[in-house]
């Protein structure tokens, strides 16, 4: 049969030479290869002590951001839930009462906000959809494994980032040093 691709190679099947038939040279070649691997750097990452470096654009566990005065940015518009292809996000909206201005940035806020981490595919579309820059996927945290299914439904208690400027998530809008100082002062007086 004529080859149309010109890629066919004619294989020559020569009888083996004496050295090849004795196998020992080939065996020693193989042994030298494995010995070289013995001294090579190991590919293993000893997990709990060492961790693989995350990519800066890694999309991990969600965070609900606060603004520079420590107020929740989320206004419970529901755009993230609409954008979510896995339908992992649910929320209940509520109206901000008088005297809660220091807690919530907008007049409407999320009374409850839940993400099911088993449904979530970590695509980041919620982050893109958010008009208030409230939800972000952190680049340095993953949703940890759990034994129970209901533990994977993250509520506001685990999603909203801490008020303290020092323990805030590294993702999303960052505080300027002045804002951070101011917030620290507020926290101290409170």
């Amino acid at each position: 049969m004529q080859s149309l691709s010109n890629r066919a190679k004619i294989l020559e099947k020569k009888p083996m030479t004496l050295a090849e038939r004795a196998y020992l040279p080939a065996i020693f070649q193989g042994l030298s290869i494995t010995l070289r691997h013995f001294f090579m750097k190991k590919a293993t990452i000893r997990y709990p002590e060492e961790t693989r470096p995350f990519s800066p654009v890694f999309r991990g566990l969600h965070v609900l951001k606060r603004d520079e005065q420590g107020r929740e940015r989320c206004t419970a518009c529901g755009l993230c839930a609409v954008a979510c292809p896995a339908e992992a996000i649910t929320m209940v909206a509520g109206e901000r009462k008088k005297g809660e201005q220091n807690l919530y940035r907008e007049e409407k806020y999320a009374v409850s906000y839940e993400i099911n981490m088993l449904r979530c595919i970590f695509c980041g579309l919620c982050e893109e959809a958010c008009p208030k820059a409230a939800v972000y996927l952190q680049a340095d945290k993953m949703a940890p494994p759990r034994f129970e299914r209901d533990e994977f439904i993250y509520g506001k208690d685990r999603l909203v980032e801490p008020v303290s400027p020092d323990t805030r998530s590294k993702r999303g809008i960052q505080l300027t040093p002045e804002q951070a100082d101011k917030l620290r002062g507020q926290l101290q007086t409170a």
Binding site: G30, I33, T34, H37, M40, A43, T44
Partner: protein, 364 residues
Amino acid sequence: MTFETLGWQGLVILVIFGLSLLIATYCTYAERVIAAFLQDRVGPDRAGPYGLAQPLADAVKMFTKEEFFPGGASKALFTFGPCLAMTTALMSSAVIPFGNAVQFGSTVVHLQGIEINVGMLYVFGIVSLGVYGVMIGGWASNNKFSLLGAIRAASQNISYELAMGLALIAVLMMSGTLSLREITLQQTHPNGWHLGDIFTWNVFKQPIGFIIFLVCAFAETNRTPFDLPECETELVGGYHTEYSSMKLGLYLFAEYINIIVVTAVMSVLYFGGFNYPFQYEFLDFLTTKTSLSPDWAHNVFVLMGVVAMFSKIFTGIFFFMWVRWTLPRFRYDQLMRLGWTILIPLAIFNILLTGGLITFGVIK
């Protein structure tokens, strides 16, 4: 033999017994770590520092597993198999000289279980008995995979014992003795050429014989590339398919002890046993340059020999593991062809060659 020397000899036997068990225990660890290193992994490193408590964890696991008897199996034979494998494995180290004799005044203690003038035959006899452990275990399991593994083990051991024995005959022709201690002592020259004192080793006089012996040693211990009796891809687990708990542990343990014995025999026969390079210079140095009494100078010299012997054994064990994780398994017909049509004729040729060289006085 006085009561005192008997006591010393008993102590030596106990130490050899304990040491071979300890080394076999750590062989399981070494095997896993070496396998991992050769495959660019790190191996077990969780139990204790560098995972050194891993054998302990394995032992606990082995002991707490369910003791399983397959239906229709002969309980007595099923239990007897691993016992026999273990006993024969432990027995064969009795005649191996791990060191020369140490002296305490008038007491002379040979660092050897027992010195008999047919040591080599003894080792061979015991090693041949070892195959019964595998055979009985495989037969008693009432399982076709076990039986096939056992049959393979038996035929493989018988075929390769022939070539191994023939390779040994060439060594025995040169040494003129079957005593392992004598063979060791012949592999050095107190007044000869001192450069390294290595070239008195039999491996330089018997290179062909050594290669045959090495290949047969792999087959005798059922190690890759000749691990057909237990090849996982074809026979599940071979002769120990039905075994669980510590009975399986005994089989695996016996295998590692066999490796220790075979590497020990190999270092005695071909690598000068407890002789080491520059040993007489070292003895000279100890007697003339240090303040040790002549007895203790001799003892330190002998203990260095024990260290040399064990480093040879460990190197051998490493080589066995290194080969295991390098070469794939032979096919059964290839194994038989290699044994019968290549190794045995080669061994006979080696005997003729050695005989010729001895006749014409090239070697003695």
